[in-house]
């Protein structure tokens, strides 16, 4: 097990370096130039040159990359172009609002999706199952930004119950009223995916021999469901949640932009629009490392949930 973990971690580093090379190449192939962001409409070549010099963009690309890599290895991801702080500081400042949002959203999705999927599987082909499956399909087809706008239209514009923007707090925790809509959009948008996975793995699990044996032994159906079938059926869900962590940033880009939520998603959006190269690179490495560590954790969790799985 230890060897497995060490090996997996050893794989992460070259992948991260490769990823940074890829992003770096893309940024340098791109036609746009980040210095234009600093310049007024009428600027002289000297001014542009000075800005480029200051941002370190005049070095040959390979030198630029190696400088960046050398610093990054020691944990320094450089100065941002546009935020007046280091990349690390900017990312850390934006981390907590997103984590807050994501944890609540994940709770909402699991609390809804697991019972829905289980009920759907147990009462297979019943009216209830059909309703849940159809609702799932509706959910899959809902554009999240539209859903967000509709919520705003209803609860902020017409009813005036919920604030439409920001966290509504300067403290550690966002104001509950401000959390409701972003969490609802993020959480509900994942429900259809999770519910589908739970339903199908539950169906597989219910048809396995040991479940039939348990039924033959006369165990109560509810006990079979919760103690035996669900335990195995939850495995694929763990994977899907793990994989969807990869989508975490994707999901929050849209939601945070709409609700003006000062998290990583909004940062990603801003960095891209402002062509703030150091932030883009830093975010890429940060999220990729996060995704890979998460998938490692999922693999390790597996061994605890299903003792049949062993990593040698």
């Amino acid at each position: 097990m230890t060897r497995f973990i060490v090996h997996r971690i050893a794989q992460i580093i070259p992948l991260l370096i490769l990823l940074s090379v890829f992003i770096f190449t893309m940024m340098h192939l791109a036609p746009g130039s980040p210095e234009s962001f600093y310049l007024t409409d009428h600027y002289t070549d000297e001014q542009a040159e000075a800005v480029r010099e200051q941002l370190g963009l005049n070095e040959p690309p390979v030198r630029q990359y190696l400088t960046w890599l050398g610093a990054a290895i020691s944990g320094d991801f450089g100065q941002t172009f546009t935020y007046g702080a280091t990349v690390t500081d900017v990312i850390l400042a934006r981390l907590w609002p997103t984590v807050q949002l994501q944890l609540l959203a994940l709770t909402v999705s699991v609390v809804i999706a697991v019972p829905a999927g289980v009920i759907s599987a147990i009462r297979r082909n019943s009216k209830l199952d059909h309703s849940i499956t159809t609702a799932t399909l509706f959910g899959l087809s809902m554009p999240d930004f539209w859903f967000a706008l509709l919520l705003m239209l209803t609860f902020s514009v017409h009813l005036g119950w919920l604030p439409a923007f920001g966290t509504g707090s300067d403290g550690l925790f966002a104001a509950p009223a401000n959390l409701v809509m972003p969490v609802a959009v993020l959480g509900l948008s994942a429900v259809p995916w999770y519910a589908r996975v739970v339903r199908s793995s539950m169906l597989d699990s219910l048809s396995e021999d040991y479940i039939l044996t348990a039924a033959a032994k006369g165990l109560k159906p509810s006990r079979i469901t919760t103690h035996h079938a669900l335990r195995i059926a939850i495995l694929p869900l763990v994977t899907v949640i793990g994989l969807s962590m990869a989508r975490v940033l994707s999901g929050v880009i849209v939601v945070e932009t709409i609700f003006v939520w000062p998290g990583l998603g909004q940062l990603a959006w801003e960095a891209v629009i402002r062509q703030d190269y150091p932030v883009i690179l830093g975010l890429t490495i940060f999220t990729a490392a996060f995704v890979m560590i998460f998938s490692l954790i999922v693999d390790i969790l597996y061994t605890y949930i299903d003792p049949r799985i062993r990593y040698v």
Binding site: L15, S141, M142, A246, R247, L249, I253, V272, T287
Partner: protein, 299 residues
């Protein structure tokens, strides 16, 4: 090693004796699925409308009429007018063109890249490692972030939308195809084709692709709905089709400023996206149920 089990029939007896063309059987099964049929009809109508948009739309989608701006839905303007006095209904109709065109082109590209990479990775063991590392690399990056970054760096245009969505999302298809081909590889008919001296290209085209085509059709249909969601999200963020070209996502972005006074600018373009995406989802699910092949069930 060699398979020396006493082989069990792969298909139950009743299905061994059925006859009639495959297409007819699939069409019959599909026809029993009401929502899927309705969805198919809706999409057919939508595609026809999109193709003949100039004939169908009551007004010029980019024709401004400032005195009549922000009018609510009426008999004259079915879905109201926007901030420039343009007819929303006509814009929704023309917006279908952008979304459908981008979706079809992107999915074609996704299937092309995904199938090629998947087959090569599964078929040539020495290619598997490098190709799957590329997939891992892409997997490690949030796809929407990658997409937005590429579009922002290289500039927003319809061509870039197609190219970059395909580049960011081909990996799932590649993984699916790879898995399918790995299991096909061990079927005896593949060995028989090799023993008959068939070339690799012949094996890909005559044996592998026909045996995974059902699954690919289902994936393609479901991907269309997914790509429409992405394309409209990009347009909403201002990275899709550029004004004045009408696009559903762009209309939503424009309407956002008038959320407080003109609900119709938010409601109808979104509804168009929702219905179209849902129709493709229904058709995709319907096809998966209608196909009886393993490749379709595995999607």
């Amino acid at each position: 090693m060699s398979s020396e089990r006493s082989a069990s029939p792969a298909t139950p007896i009743h299905s061994r004796v059925r006859s009639g063309s495959r297409f007819k059987r699939i069409a019959w099964r599909y026809g029993r699925n009401r929502p899927a049929v309705v969805a198919m009809a809706f999409l057919t109508l939508l595609i026809v409308v999109a193709i003949f948009a100039p004939l169908v739309a009551p007004y010029d989608p980019v024709g401004q009429d400032l005195p009549r701006r922000l009018e609510p839905p009426s008999r004259e303007f079915l879905l109201g007018t926007d901030a420039f006095g343009r007819d929303s209904f006509s814009r929704v109709i023309f917006g279908a063109r952008v979304s459908l065109l981008v979706a079809f082109a992107t999915v074609a590209l996704i299937i092309l890249i995904g199938t090629t990479v998947g087959i090569l990775a599964a078929y040539y063991r020495w290619l598997d490692g490098p190709l799957m590392r590329i997939v891992d690399l892409l997997m490690a990056m949030p796809p929407l972030f990658l997409l937005i970054m590429l579009v922002a760096l290289f500039g927003a245009s319809t061509g870039h939308t197609v190219l970059f969505i395909a580049l960011s999302y081909w990996r799932t298809t590649a993984r699916y195809v790879r898995g399918q081909v790995l299991s096909l590889k061990h079927r005896d008919y593949m060995k028989a084709a090799l023993a008959s001296g068939a070339s690799d290209v012949r094996i890909f085209v005559r044996h592998i692709i026909p045996n995974i085509s059902d699954g690919l059709i289902v994936i393609a249909t479901l991907s269309i709905s997914f790509v429409i969601l992405l394309e409209t999200a990009l347009s909403y963020l201002g990275l899709g089709a550029q004004p004045p070209t009408p696009s559903w996502g762009g209309m939503l972005a424009d309407g956002r400023q008038y959320l407080q006074i003109s609900w119709w600018l938010t409601a109808f373009p979104g509804l168009a996206i929702f219905l179209t995406v849902m129709a493709f989802n229904f058709v995709g699910d319907g096809l998966r149920d209608a196909f009886d092949s393993r490749s379709a069930k595995a999607v």
